[in-house]
């Protein structure tokens, strides 16, 4: 099991009073899982995803990642955990504009201390995997939205994470390009990486084996295909 969340809640303290973003969620993510989370805006999907990805901590409940209690980890250890075991794909890609596609993919490898030769090989493999070998030396501004998202996926896979988290990965793309990204994410999952996607996209959600629907911070129901 990669993630074991038991009764996790996330409450934000706001000037007008506390806001419960995630309420008493119990959820397990297993190796190779393909999970889609959907629900109306503001229902807590992204907050839950952030907790699963160890960038946010639950206010109550317990969350174990690969058997480690995330709440007890220092910031540095959580960073290391994210670096080596979790990949993130964002709606807005967040590629660094001053770096080329290959340098963007190389960044997490460099941060993880991977040697130069191995880094170059891995970057080459990843760009080939997402079909962007020919665009390796292009900067984000020279890439289309779909290409940028593919670079972002390659970057997220750089350190061979156990779990890939994607927050509205097709949110900024047209239908055809979104379909290509959906197929790529399916392939990533088929190759063994657990995948959790937060999405409004019915087609993307429909590809998942587990479909969680959230409402008012809680999982309303779970469907399995």
């Amino acid at each position: 099991m990669i993630v074991d969340a038991q009764s996790v809640s996330r409450i934000f303290k706001m000037p007008a009073g506390p806001v419960v973003a995630v309420r008493d969620v119990t959820l397990q993510i297993h190796d190779g899982d393909h999970v889609a989370i959907r629900g109306p805006s503001g229902c807590g999907k992204s907050t839950l995803l952030h907790m699963l990805g160890c960038v946010d901590a639950p206010t109550s409940g317990s969350l174990l990642f690969a058997g480690q209690d995330v709440a007890r980890l220092s910031d540095a250890k959580r960073s290391l955990l994210r670096l080596k075991q979790i990949g993130f794909v964002f709606q807005r890609f967040f590629l660094l504009p001053m770096l080329t596609a290959s340098e963007n993919v190389e960044l997490p490898l460099s941060e993880a201390g991977v040697g130069k030769t191995e880094r170059r090989t891995r970057v080459s493999e990843l760009l080939d995997y997402v079909g962007l070998t020919a665009r390796a030396d292009h900067r984000p501004s020279q890439l289309s939205g779909g290409e940028m998202q593919r670079v972002a996926i390659a970057r997220a896979l750089a350190n061979k994470p156990q779990l890939l988290l994607a927050d509205e990965p097709t949110g900024e793309l047209d239908v055809a390009t979104g379909e290509q990204i959906a197929m790529l994410l399916n392939r990533v999952n088929a190759d063994g990486t657990a995948l959790v996607i937060v999405t409004h996209d019915q087609a993307l959600a429909g590809r998942a084996r587990r479909l969680l629907t959230m409402r008012d911070g809680a999982i309303d129901h779970e469907a399995t295909t």
Binding site: S46, T47, H50, G53, V55, D56, D75, A76, S79, L80, L81, R82, L83, K84, I86, G87, F88, F90, Q91, R92, F94, L96, P97, M98, L99, E103, E106, L107, P108, S110, E111, A112, R155, A156, N159, D167, E168
Partner: protein, 403 residues
């Protein structure tokens, strides 16, 4: 990718911002360097002038050289001093006012400096330098009427080495109607304590007395003394000799000048240095803070991808170091040029010796300049570093999507 290289790429990404920061630091750094050069420049320069010809003690009638009454019974006093065991030689130094008539143009007002060396008879030939430096031609010999003149006088009177100089000289306070004296110019010389536009003639004390028509009492403005090695001991011996004169080592002269006014330069430059550094810190802080705030989403994403807090903090610090470092390097030639220009303006003030410099670059000033730039980089990066180190990753990513 190392933090410094990463920071360099970030700066190149926003060239206008980077250029603004670098140029700002270069300008501020140049001013900072000038303030540091000014803070101690006069003292260093004055010491250099005093030490230049090997005379390590000044003997005057007042508290400071050339600022009090003349030394009376100068010959006896000089001989007494020269015979002290700790003294190698003494030089009588007398200044007289002079007027040089020029055909078809107005006369020039000049100074005639007369010098004469005294040393104890048993010490053989004592080699000493007159208080000037020959630029062209030759120095004065023993012949009466030989003089050297400075370049401004040579230019103004169209006189070159080998020419005859005719001047009227007065050795008393009141102007006299003396007959003109004819002098033989042997060379051009630099007089370290003369002003930029002052006209100076140097010769022997005998030449000066002759030029004054014999109307001169046994007085000098200053005695320059060379010790046998222990200037403090020699100065103490002169004071103990009860000659009614004030003997000061060059260190003491510099110290008195500092008390008399040089310290104001240091105080002013300290205040301006503090203001300059504050300005640089504010400039870089604003630039980095704006840059960081524009990239919060990116930084949060990098943190989500596993880049450590220390890494993103290091990136910001590296940007600050690069901006301040590049600007600091540019500030050195810029500061040097600015100092040279300001020095020329200040030296044009009346009464300021041409060889005296207000801005002097010392190793210590460079070290302080470097230290202050490092401090600037650190202080300027402190606030933006705090922003990225305390950045809430999830909330920032959420805000970016909503935004």
């Amino acid at each position: 990718m190392k933090a410094l290289r990463f920071a360099a790429r970030s700066l190149v990404r926003q060239p206008a911002r980077a250029a603004l920061g670098v140029l700002g630091v270069a300008a501020v750094g140049a001013l900072l360097l000038d303030m540091l050069m000014l803070s101690n420049g006069l003292v260093v320069s004055m010491r250099d002038l005093l030490d230049r010809y090997g005379w390590d003690i000044r003997v005057a009638g007042g508290d400071l050289p050339l600022q009090g009454p003349r030394i009376r019974h100068a010959s006896t006093t000089a001989d007494t001093i020269a015979n002290l065991p700790s003294v190698r030689a003494a030089l009588l130094f007398r200044i007289a006012d002079a007027r040089i008539d020029r055909p078809n143009v107005g006369p020039l007002t000049a100074q005639l400096v007369g010098v004469e060396v005294r040393s104890a008879p048993g010490r053989g030939v004592v080699r000493t330098s007159p208080p000037w430096t020959i630029v062209s031609g030759r120095d004065i010999g023993s012949a009466a009427g030989d003089v050297v003149i400075n370049q401004p006088l040579a230019s103004a009177s169209h006189i070159a080495p080998g020419s005859i100089l005719t001047m009227r000289v007065s050795c008393v306070a009141e102007r006299e109607a003396l007959p003109p004296t004819t002098l033989h110019v042997t060379g051009l010389a630099e007089f370290p304590f003369s002003g930029v536009n002052e006209y100076v003639v140097g010769g022997t004390l005998g030449t000066l007395k002759t030029a004054c028509g014999g109307n001169v009492v046994d007085e000098v403005d200053l005695l320059l003394v060379t010790s046998t090695g222990d200037a403090d001991g020699a100065a103490a011996a002169i004071r103990a000799a009860g000659l009614g004169v004030n003997a000061m080592t060059n260190d003491e002269v510099v110290g008195r000048f500092q008390q008399a006014g040089f310290s104001y330069f240091r105080q002013i430059s300290s205040v301006l240095t503090a203001v300059t550094v504050s300005f640089a810190v504010l400039l870089i802080t604003v630039l980095l803070t704006v840059s960081v705030n524009q990239r919060l989403g990116e930084i949060a994403a990098l943190r989500a991808l596993g880049l450590s807090r220390s890494r993103v903090v290091k990136d910001v610090l590296s940007e600050s170091v690069l901006i301040v470092g590049t600007g600091g390097l540019l500030s050195l030639p810029l500061g040097w040029l600015l100092a040279a220009g300001l020095d020329n303006i200040l030296k044009a003030m009346p009464g300021v010796p041409a060889e005296l410099h207000f801005f002097v670059l010392e190793r210590e000033a460079l070290a302080v300049h470097l230290a202050l730039l490092v401090l600037t980089a650190l202080l300027a990066a402190a606030y933006p570093m705090r922003i990225v180190s305390t950045l809430p990753i999830a909330a920032t990513l959420r805000d970016e999507v909503i935004g």
